[in-house]
Symmetry: C2
Subunit: 435 residues, 2 copies
């Protein structure tokens, strides 16, 4: 059996797996903050393409076919299916016994280096079909912005990205990448929106994700563009389920069933992408696979947040979402993993945590720090700072199984590489510091 | 027919293609600068593992089997075979007619982002088999150093890299990557070698590739380590021929024969890797495929250099090599493509240029500048600055064929991505500058 497990192109999933019909209760609706009434599809249509809203609120169809044209993009552009790899060298480094095994899915092998393009190309495709002129979006460190820029380039669609100003200035390479894909990138707050000018006038020029969301939403509604989100929402998690579906086929080829499936957790999309199809397996086959969302202990939305209605952004512009939240005013500490600094959580995953269908675990900065170097030195790939959180939980579980003499087959989503985040590993305490 | 063409793992080449027996004359021997006699295998054994020297001087066997253990590393670690892609979007951007086609080989899909690990893992493997303790090497911008660091990590071998000090200070991320793979990286000139201390005392502290080579060689001979080179030499080009062999099978699957094969040209290894197997096809099948090495017009070793004996390094420490050279004292201008700033050329390619079996072309900085953005905007991948030189020649040839109404099938080696070179695209005149 080879270390790397491939699928043929024709084995790429034919549909997305929609978890909504399989949840133990109907997911609570989005609520209009003014009327306190459920936000209707029609009301949200100013922001999102209709087809994405239909997916967002589809409580009936667990299988949503992937159109042939979009499927071709996944296969020919994103080079899916992507390999699943047995972490033989990491196992050796950890001294694991033969019945403690680790597998990971190579989502870093995308044009922008993470799983984000999986939903970006779908959003651009459905938007293009409806004649959407362009998207406005926000980005923190730039992973999402560069993925939507890439997708917009593929479908000939304008993309405008409001990038939190401190990242815009400190992390110029993601901005360069977005520009190269043809996107327009503005530091946020910018002087091109009302809300941006307001924050600038208040002296809050270094920006925040909340301000950037507000600017993107204003741009979308005032120009007839649409707004796009890279995580949290149901349709985003839906698109990412191609990851887990591929993994199920690949684990079969390896003649293995995972006992644990891990993903790091920020808004929820990479975790949902790998975990939801295994949730379906749990339901249908009583597989008993533990699904584990891993968050930093400094941003503990699933483990310490309240399950209640809150805004998706800090400025209070989005509909209210029932989710695990630390409160929209929560100020996350400046951890390197920008993708995990979010106060809320996907409403689908939140509901599953409430019903104990998904476990949430935290890892500390001390757990996480050695992981990038450990993975680079064993498996030879430099993980994104976000991904190191999943690795930390996997390593902890593997060593625990070893100690107890228990068997375990651990699968995790290697959600992205760290090649554009090397600064994180250069700083004191980061990996890559020569002792 | 899919845009991306894959091979199965079992279709990965079983042997390297050795071009030496197929050359029209015996390649001139390396010459000892002191005795002016051909350098013997024994004399060079202080620097290189015996097996690599045997490959270097093998004039008899055109096929050199790849050991099973090494083949496994290519398949399971470097994820070979790598896809070949039809550049359908680039063709569309250029408005090419249906009979002008462009294909490219995805060598960027390696752990360090370029073709360099193809020879690094082979050198580490053969070294390990002979009990070599470790390698010392030099690196300019860091591509080669990080690839050997990766290979050393795989085979449990010490790697020490002397990195030209100005790159060490200006391009910290490659250094961080090498450290993460466990290599020891020193800015060169360093105070850890005699020759380094000499240059430091002379005030030449910013360093050069010539000085770094000198330090690596000194370290190798004084510590019983071996010395390793990432390009130029016959055995390096030999290992890279897996690229072209895969391409031949993939072009067959696409039911196409290339009319032109391109690679950018610095020391020669990525060009040789894709071109040599097609040279064999030209010999055996009279295929008439044009093999085109593309160099910057500011470092024109193949097009303007003399074919004569010269040192491989600027310090005059290596044996004399018969090659196209601009002279060991040639000072290349500070172009972004660090991998193409070399005064000499692979002796094998030099001989083929002499016999008009390989064509050399130059591209200007003005030709090259728009290529990174063009490729990002069409194919969605950000090329390394080196690779943009090959793209510029491909685009020129494609547009010429279009103008003439001629058919052409162009294949080039997409030798690496630019994710760790984004600074090059940020500067004035680089791609990624917002107009």
């Amino acid at each position: 059996m080879s270390r790397a497990i491939y699928l043929d192109e024709n084995e790429f999933p034919k549909s997305f797996y929609n978890v909504l019909p399989d949840l133990p209760e109907k997911i609570p609706p989005y609520v209009d903050p003014k009327t306190k009434e459920p936000a209707s599809l029609e009301a949200m249509a100013a922001l999102f393409p209709i087809e994405l809203l239909k997916q967002e609120m589809n409580y009936d169809d667990r299988s949503i076919p992937i159109p042939a044209e979009l499927r071709e993009v996944y296969i020919e552009r994103l080079l899916r299916p992507r390999p699943l790899v047995r972490a033989t060298n990491l196992e050796k480094h950890l001294g694991l016994p033969p019945d403690v095994k680790i597998f990971y899915k190579r989502e870093d092998l995308s044009p922008t280096g993470s799983h984000k393009p999986n939903t970006a190309v779908a959003q651009a495709y459905y938007g293009m079909k409806e004649g959407v002129k362009g998207y406005a979006t926000e980005t923190g460190a730039g992973q999402w912005g560069s993925s939507l820029a890439y997708a917009g380039m593929l479908f000939g669609m304008d993309v405008e990205v409001f990038m939190v100003r401190c990242s815009y200035e400190q992390k110029p390479y993601r901005k360069v990448m977005m520009n190269m894909f043809g996107a327009d990138v503005k530091p946020s707050p910018s002087d091109t929106t009302q809300v941006g000018r307001k924050f600038l006038a208040e002296g809050r020029s270094s920006g925040s994700l909340g301000i950037a969301i507000a600017e993107a939403i204003e741009r979308a509604v005032t120009t007839g563009k649409k707004y796009s989100l890279g995580s949290v929402l149901n349709h985003v998690c839906l698109h990412q389920t191609i990851i887990g579906q591929e993994c199920i086929e690949q684990m079969k080829m390896a003649d293995e069933t995972p006992t644990h499936v891990f993903g790091c957790f920020g808004g929820g999309s990479n975790f949902a992408g790998i975990a939801f199809p295994f949730y379906e397996l749990n339901r249908n086959k009583k597989a008993g696979i533990r699904l584990i969302a891993v968050e930093p202990d400094t941003v503990p939305s699933l483990t310490k947040g309240k399950y209640e209605y809150d805004h998706g952004d800090s400025a209070g512009l989005t509909p209210l979402i029932k989710m695990h939240t630390l409160g929209k005013d929560f100020m996350p500490p400046p951890i390197y993993a920008g993708g995990l600094r979010y106060h809320g959580a996907a409403p689908s995953v939140s509901l599953m945590v409430k019903h104990k269908l998904v476990e949430a675990q935290t890892v500390s900065q001390a757990d996480v720090n050695p992981m990038a170097e450990l993975f680079a030195k064993s498996e030879g790939i430099i993980p994104a700072p976000e991904t190191t959180h999943a690795i930390a939980a996997v390593v902890r579980t593997a060593l625990e199984a070893k100690r107890k003499g228990a068997a375990a087959t651990l699968l995790f989503n290697f959600s992205g590489h760290g090649l554009l985040d090397m600064a994180a590993y250069e700083k004191p305490g980061g990996a890559g510091q020569k002792k």
